[in-house]
Amino acid sequence: MEPGTVQNLNLLLQFGLPLALILFAYFIGSMLEKRHFRSIGAREDALHGFPVTTFRNLPQNWQVGQAELVTGNVVVSLDYFKRIIAGLRGLIGGRVKTYEPLLDRARREAVLRMVESAKSRGFDAVVNVRLDTSRLANSRGNGEGTAGVEMLAFGTALKLDGR
């Protein structure tokens, strides 16, 4: 083999591989994100008309039969490409657009899971919905390793008499 070819191969391994990984992560990541947003949209439409509120006081005319706590949670992480973009954003500051859709869809997913769990158990409404966001620690001490963000939605599900 000529020395030039070996050098080229080395170059390819050093830069090509991470680049391929970034591109792979970008395409698969955005594809999954689009699909998830479609699924969220469809499920939110299906739950249209199911009362979900952040009030703690109930409307006067509600006759409550049974009450129970319901929860929904989801842990998400950013893809490789977006993490790099967010890292670069950190240098100049400003709006980190790559994080916004991730947190948005995670939160909506958590709410959907909570509401779906309430509906499947025969409840008619969910009141006093609270949302919590917490960051999970990295699995390795140097700040590397898997980390995620958990979204938790919880509220009180109600069975209403006369419904």
Binding site: L21, F24, A25, I28, G29, L32, E33, H36, R56, L58, W62, Q63, V64, G65, Q66, A67, E68, L69, V70, T71, N73, V74, V75, V76, S77, L78, D79, Y80, K82, L102, A106, E109, S117, R121, V127, N128, R130, D132, S134, R135, L136, A137, N138, S139, R140, G141, G145, T146, G148, E150, L152, F154, G155, T156, A157, L158
Partner: protein
């Protein structure tokens, strides 16, 4: 996760159990659990971390842990003679690398 009525104790995150009357207060009850991720789950999550999106292993882990924390809280409420825990709150804190504390607290009461 079926948190709703754990072993006959009604939970709610409002100051009342809607549709019922509170007859007695027993005070604050708490329950916690500290969990570390296990290596198999972490490996899968590490792979999933490349493309992003939901880390199902962690979602389930936290769900189970929260259920356990809630069960401990309910156990405490039962030992006091309560039949409901109202105004339930949850908290999560990362206390060490790879480990998290899940914490549930509320007010134990007796309702009619």
């Amino acid at each position: 996760m079926d948190l709703g009525t754990l072993q006959g104790i009604t939970l709610s995150n409002i100051e009342t159990v809607p549709g019922r009357t509170i007859v007695e207060f027993y005070g604050v009850v708490t329950g916690n659990t500290v969990r570390a991720k296990h290596i198999g789950r972490d490996l899968m999550a590490g792979l999933k971390n490349i493309v992003g999106g939901e880390l199902k292993g962690y979602t389930e882990l936290l769900q189970d842990s929260r259920l356990e924390a809630t069960e401990r809280m309910v156990e405490q409420a039962r030992s006091m003679g309560a039949n409901a825990v109202i105004n339930v709150r949850f908290a999560t804190s990362s206390i060490a690398q790879g480990a998290a504390e899940l914490f549930a607290y509320g007010t134990a009461v007796r309702v009619e």
